[in-house]
């Protein structure tokens, strides 16, 4: 029974585990930035005064939220990259990395957009009316009244989206990239045998990535909460 919890292989391969988590972090960091930008675009579409843009925003967000990420990632790498020949780079691993980032960013952006829109909706209409009645222009009321309140209430939901995104790197990694932690765990399972300690090693890695982020966003959203 003792050999069930023999951690020597984990400690011997710590460098490989660390490298694979570094790949996960690189994937997540770039995706965080891109999905924020894209999500802001969709959210601004959805709250715009233009019916066409609102329709497009709603359509895109619903499309993305109801499609499995696995299908989206497989579509990106097999259909867009392999069949339609849209390549980011001639090197397969670089191409895979950017398609993984693209799939995850596009997918996550829909959830970012929903969080942002919900945040704007938490600002009471009276705040906007008061801002207009004291003569603030559109940009002024947005900058000084609405966005500061919306931003605060959005921190919690956005944190949840980001943490879900960190966990979703495993999916795009396994489908399109193949170097990050979940893929590395599978590779080590094949090389050294699928043991519990190896799983625990990677599980701890993910705990280290997601739990502190959760504590941080929980603390921040509580601290920044708008008292109404």
């Amino acid at each position: 029974m003792g050999q069930l919890f023999d951690f020597t292989e984990v400690f011997n391969n710590l460098d490989k585990i660390a490298i694979s988590f570094w790949a996960t972090i690189r994937l997540a960091a770039v995706t965080a930035v891109l999905s924020m930008i894209l999500g802001t675009v969709w959210a601004s579409f959805r709250v715009s005064p233009t019916p066409v843009l609102r329709g497009v925003g709603t359509f895109v967000v619903n499309l993305l939220r109801n499609t499995p990420l696995t299908l989206l990632a497989a579509f990106c790498i097999s259909a867009l990259s392999d069949i339609l020949k849209f390549h980011f780079s001639e090197t397969p691993s670089v191409n895979g990395y950017w398609w993984a980032v693209t799939a995850l960013s596009v997918y996550t952006s829909a959830f970012v957009a929903e969080a942002l829109r919900a945040g704007i909706n938490t600002v009471p209409l009276g705040q906007a009316e008061a801002a207009r009645s004291i003569g603030l222009t559109f940009t002024q009321s947005l900058r000084m009244i609405i966005l500061p309140q919306a931003f605060r209430s959005v921190i919690g939901p956005l944190g949840s989206v980001l943490i879900a995104m960190i966990k979703n790197t495993t999916i795009v990694g396994a489908v399109a990239y193949g170097v990050e932690a979940a893929s590395e765990m599978k590779a080590l399972f094949f090389d050294l045998g699928a043991t519990l300690p190896m799983f625990i090693g990677f599980a701890v890695g993910y705990l280290v990535l997601t739990l502190p982020a959760g504590f941080f966003f929980g603390w921040l959203s509580k601290r920044m909460a708008v008292a109404r």
Binding site: L4, N66, P68, G159, K167, L211
Partner: protein, 327 residues
């Protein structure tokens, strides 16, 4: 949807704003039409509209062998996973509310652990690990227990044991992952739901002389379930989407059948992806519609209870969640 009334962002438009909105509408419509035209031109240029690529979808045999079979497998994994996840969620959600720390703390640790794990590595755990670990257990004191458990309980999911080596089929691995991950999320939903009930409800029930058990069973839970329903249904949509992870370990779900096996025979990957996505979106929209309907219904019947809205995401693992978040 005409928006001539004021919103948080925009005041009710006057004549000038209306003109400006009209210009913006025209410009954005042109840009979007241009974008669509470019995509269609590019796809046509690469021969993706060729008749033979779309022809398989007009044949009933293709639908039956691939898409319908795949959808059935997806729904099967989702249904089994949903039932087990709901059970897991109910048990651990209530355990976290227990008065005894020796129930509350371990249940909390289990829930927080599985909520923080990516679903895929849980599926890998169930799929790869038993084959190497089971022979060692079989030689140990728990060998007999393992055999009995696999033969009597886990065999329902297709798990087999041969000379002490346990083999887990892809279906069972997917269900295992879905149960633990979504079950943990549902446990949080249950906990938040019960905590969102006004405190006076429980206090009044205790004052009537009810025991803990009766308070929970007769007073808190019935109200909590009404409040939780939309959140539960939207988590079930997540669960349904997550079944597609079976594709990675070779479970024959809709993604596998529609995106790997069918295109391998007909060489129409792009077209198959469109059909698969359409099926997923249809199923999910139906389930979401049910969630919206449930939310509207529960809002009509109980004015006093704030429903946990279907769209609101629960705080992720580690984020201190109190009843206040859900209310």
């Amino acid at each position: 949807m005409s928006r001539d009334e004021a919103t948080v962002l925009f005041d009710a438009p006057g004549p000038r704003a209306r003109r400006r909105n009209l210009t913006l509408t025209l410009v954005s419509a042109l840009v979007i039409l241009g974008l669509i035209a470019w995509i269609i031109y590019d796809l046509a240029d690469k021969g993706q509209f060729a008749g033979e690529l779309w022809k398989p979808f007009t044949q009933w045999d293709v639908w039956r062998t691939y898409f319908i079979q795949g959808t059935i497998n997806t729904l099967k994994a989702a249904a089994v996973g949903a039932v087990l996840a709901l059970l897991f969620g109910a048990v651990f959600g209530l355990a976290r509310l227990s008065d005894h720390w020796w129930i509350r703390v371990p249940a909390g640790a289990v829930v927080e652990f599985f909520r923080a794990m990516p679903l895929l590595i849980l599926i890998f755990l169930a799929f790869f690990v038993p084959a190497t670990v089971s022979p060692i257990i079989a030689d140990g004191p728990l060998g007999n227990f393992q055999r009995v458990m696999v033969e009597n309980v886990f065999s329902i999911f297709g798990v087999t044991i041969n000379n002490g080596t346990v083999t887990v089929p892809a279906f069972a691995a997917v269900v295992f992952g879905l149960t633990l991950y979504n079950g943990s999320v549902l446990a949080e939903v249950v906990r938040a739901g019960v905590q969102s009930i006004p405190r006076g409800q429980g206090e009044a029930a205790f004052a009537l002389g009810m025991r803990k058990n009766a308070v929970m069973r007769l007073v808190l839970l019935p109200q909590a379930v009404t409040a939780m329903l939309p959140a539960i249904v939207s988590q079930l949509v997540v669960l349904l989407k997550d079944t597609s992870l079976g594709y990675i370990i070779g479970y024959e779900d809709l993604t596998s059948y529609g995106f790997k096996i069918e295109p391998a025979n007909f060489h129409n990957l792009l077209q198959a992806a469109v059909v698969c996505a359409a099926i997923y979106i249809t199923i999910n929209l139906i389930v979401s519609r049910i969630a919206t309907w449930l939310e509207a219904r529960s809002r009509r019947s109980r004015k006093s209870i704030t429903t946990m809205s279907a769209g609101a995401s629960l705080p992720a693992a580690g984020m201190a969640s109190s009843g206040a978040d859900a209310a």
